[in-house]
């Protein structure tokens, strides 16, 4: 029997395999950031251990960093929160002491860790990639085996460049059909999660297959793979193809010359064999999708934009029913209310899910010639310094500023309540990020997850909306 892509990636990284023990996997690329690494470096120091492969380790600063600074930066003075500043300074000190390359905030190569890896082509097909961040699954879009790890494992990878792991099962998510106008990769993954529930992928390495993904850009594939963790999957991946190779060619760390040819030959072998079998399969018809939004407090609590807030009594499963009741109470929503009638205070475009150039182009396309409603504040936060520069080169910044949006520096920003960009208690957002958990965007904040297109249209109307709801600009 043939192998799935995930099995090929796994098997080619097994350093050691023994009965009754987890496999020891080699890690090709380890990305670190300020939040989940300090205790790992402390552990190394306490045990007198060096970083085994500094050449396969890259650090950046993203979670804690403000997004309203002006260049040039002097030290960490732009970080006003003392605890955040200490954490950033600790990362810089640790990288210096252990010889790890770091792109500090504001650096031309800095940005959200899951945006800069692909941008630098340190993310490549066939690699194992880990990071102390659950959205590491993003890198699977290149046909890599990529997953988030905890701080104990960060220390383990720093010390050994390996991880002991049991091989997860495999699942195929096959999506077919052309995306209707206004429907984006974000809507595809939100629909998958609503279908499977937040635990549906638990214990699986997922391969996204089918012609919908084959037609999708790398940015779109990254959005989909990014949210694999939101339905519990250990990793998500798309087999590399010409779209992948075209994206990588010429980027800073992509192989060149003869090495490119060798790499390409290998990359082309990274496909699920025709006679391989998955442990589970999910299918979805993309041609019937409409824009999707969440109404609750986990990413599985989503519905088409044209639907109404569901009645908790309609859920068969008791724990789903209780979860829905609790979610509606937290969100301040009543069953039966059309989602298009939900008024929004803040719109956030950005994050490792939707902070790439294509996302900014989509949002700018909607906002061009239109205005953000007076009742709405809109933050547009590029995923990296390079994305910001590219957007400015394309004139997107002017469109955002003209529309009345706030054009900001790169970082994780309002995706999570760790930096100054936060929701106030009770404030309601339409957000292109990945989590609508209680308090995720700030204590008491209420989050509706949406695509960049829905985010931009919502900013114009002040209510959840899609571009097709807007009058011609």
């Amino acid at each position: 029997m043939g192998k799935t892509l995930a099995e090929k990636l796994w098997d080619s990284h097994v350093v050691r395999s023994a009965d009754g023990e987890p496999d020891l996997l080699f890690i090709d690329m380890h990305l670190i950031h300020e939040v989940t690494s300090p205790q790992a470096f402390d552990g190394l120091r306490a045990a007198g251990r060096p970083v085994h492969r500094p050449d396969l380790t890259l650090a950046t600063e993203d979670h804690n960093t403000p997004t309203d600074y002006t260049l040039p930066l002097i030290g960490t003075t732009s970080i006003t929160d003392e605890v955040s500043r200490t954490q950033i300074e600790t990362l810089r000190r640790n990288c210096d002491e252990f010889g790890v390359t770091i792109y500090p905030m504001g650096d031309a190569d800095s940005g959200i860790v899951h945006v800069i890896g692909p941008q630098l082509a340190l993310t490549q097909p066939g690699l194992t990639i880990v990071c102390g961040d659950s959205h590491t699954s993003t890198h699977g879009a290149f046909g890599a085996l990529a997953f988030g790890i905890g701080t104990s494992q960060v220390e383990h990878v720093l010390a050994t460049q390996t991880l002991p792991m049991d091989r997860p099962k495999t699942m195929a998510v096959t999506v077919t059909g052309e995306l209707p106008p206004g429907v984006t990769p974000k809507d595809v993954i939100l629909a998958v999660i609503a279908k499977t529930g937040t635990g549906g992928g638990q214990g699986y390495m997922v391969e996204y297959r089918g012609d919908t993904f084959e037609r999708m850009s790398m940015e779109g594939r990254m959005t989909v793979c990014n949210m694999s963790i939101e339905w519990g999957a250990r990793a998500g991946m798309v087999a590399p193809d010409q779209t992948t190779f075209d994206y990588l060619r010429g980027r800073p760390h992509a192989p060149t010359g003869a090495a490119w040819d060798q790499a390409l030959e290998y990359w082309k072998s990274l496909r699920t064999d025709d006679d391989a079998e998955f442990d589970a399969e999910v299918t979805l018809d993309a041609s019937r999708l409409t824009p999707f939004v969440t109404w609750g407090t986990n990413p599985g609590q989503g519905a088409p934009l044209g639907a109404v807030v569901p009645d908790p009594a309609s859920f068969e499963d008791e724990s789903d029913r209780l979860a829905a009741e609790k979610a509606l109470a937290y969100m301040g929503l009543e069953a039966g209310k059309p989602l298009r009638d939900v008024t929004i205070d803040t719109v956030f475009v950005g994050s490792c899910t939707n902070g790439r150039i294509e996302d900014l182009r989509a949002a700018a396309g909607v906002l061009k010639g239109r205005k953000v409603a007076d009742s709405v504040r809109m933050l547009v936060v590029p995923g990296s310094v390079k994305v910001r520069a590219q957007a400015e080169a394309e004139g997107l910044d002017a469109i955002f500023i003209e529309a009345g949006a706030d054009w900001r520096q790169a970082g994780c920003s309002m995706c999570l309540g760790m930096n100054p960009d936060q929701l106030a208690p009770g404030e309601r957002s339409a957000s292109t990020s990945n989590r609508n958990f209680e308090g995720r965007q700030g204590k008491g904040g209420r989050t509706h997850l949406v695509s960049p297109l829905v985010a931009a249209a919502t900013a114009v109307t002040g209510r959840l909306a899609s571009p097709s709801d807007l009058p011609i600009a």
């Binding site: 050691r16 080699f26 205790q39 390996t162 204590k443």
Partner: protein, 198 residues
């Protein structure tokens, strides 16, 4: 890591599903660079805003076993969630299903996470709500949870069980295989990317 063989204590019923790690400890507590002292962040929003929240009820004071609904520990990879539970005094978390990364983190850090079927969890909830003094035994040697005459086996892979029973450091175990790692490194393709060469 401390050895874990058997734990006996009282338990708290957390009748909620999908308790993500943002609820276990909000991001604002993650700015710290220490590995201990996270107990103040545990379930911070619920403890602050819900007077009836289980951890605010005196009757469950001193409990060391948390009994939660399905999909406990989903979301963010923050190991701080495990540290906060341990710092607060929990030794064991029982749930019908855990988020993968949280589960891995817990077993690495020495917090035993036990999977029991949802209907058994519901029975345990009922029993500890009826009598919060109910003593629950979590036996890693026999892989059993026992209380008030109830006996339920749970699954845990032999390797994780052995590591917990012996209190072994994962890194130390891996470094015993440094030769295998070196041999693998020699086999790697020369064109694979490194951070230092561009």
């Amino acid at each position: 890591m401390e050895k874990f063989t058997e734990h006996r204590g009282t338990a708290v019923p957390l009748r909620r599903s999908n308790v993500d790690t943002d609820q276990i400890i909000p991001a604002v507590y993650l700015k710290r660079v220490t590995r201990t002292g996270f107990e103040d962040g545990l379930f911070q929003a619920w403890r602050a805003n819900e007077p009836d929240f289980v951890l605010n009820q005196d009757r469950y004071d001193g409990a060391t076993i948390l009994v939660a609904g399905p999909d406990f520990g989903t979301g963010s990879s923050r190991e701080h969630a495990v540290w906060a539970l341990m710092d607060y005094g929990f030794k064991v978390v029982i749930s019908p299903r855990f988020g993968d990364i949280f589960r891995g983190n817990s077993l690495k850090a020495g917090l035993l996470t036990v999977v029991l079927a949802e209907k058994i969890v519901q029975r345990l909830w009922d029993d500890i709500e009826d009598d919060p003094a109910t003593l629950v035994t979590v036996d890693l040697v026999d892989r059993q949870v026992r209380w008030s005459g109830e006996v339920h086996d749970f699954a845990l892979d032999d390797y994780s069980r052995w590591r917990l029973l012996e209190g072994l450091d994962d890194i130390g175990l891996t470094l015993r295989h440094a030769d295998d790692i070196a041999a693998y490194e020699k086999r790697r393709q020369p064109w694979l990317p490194t951070v230092t060469s561009a």
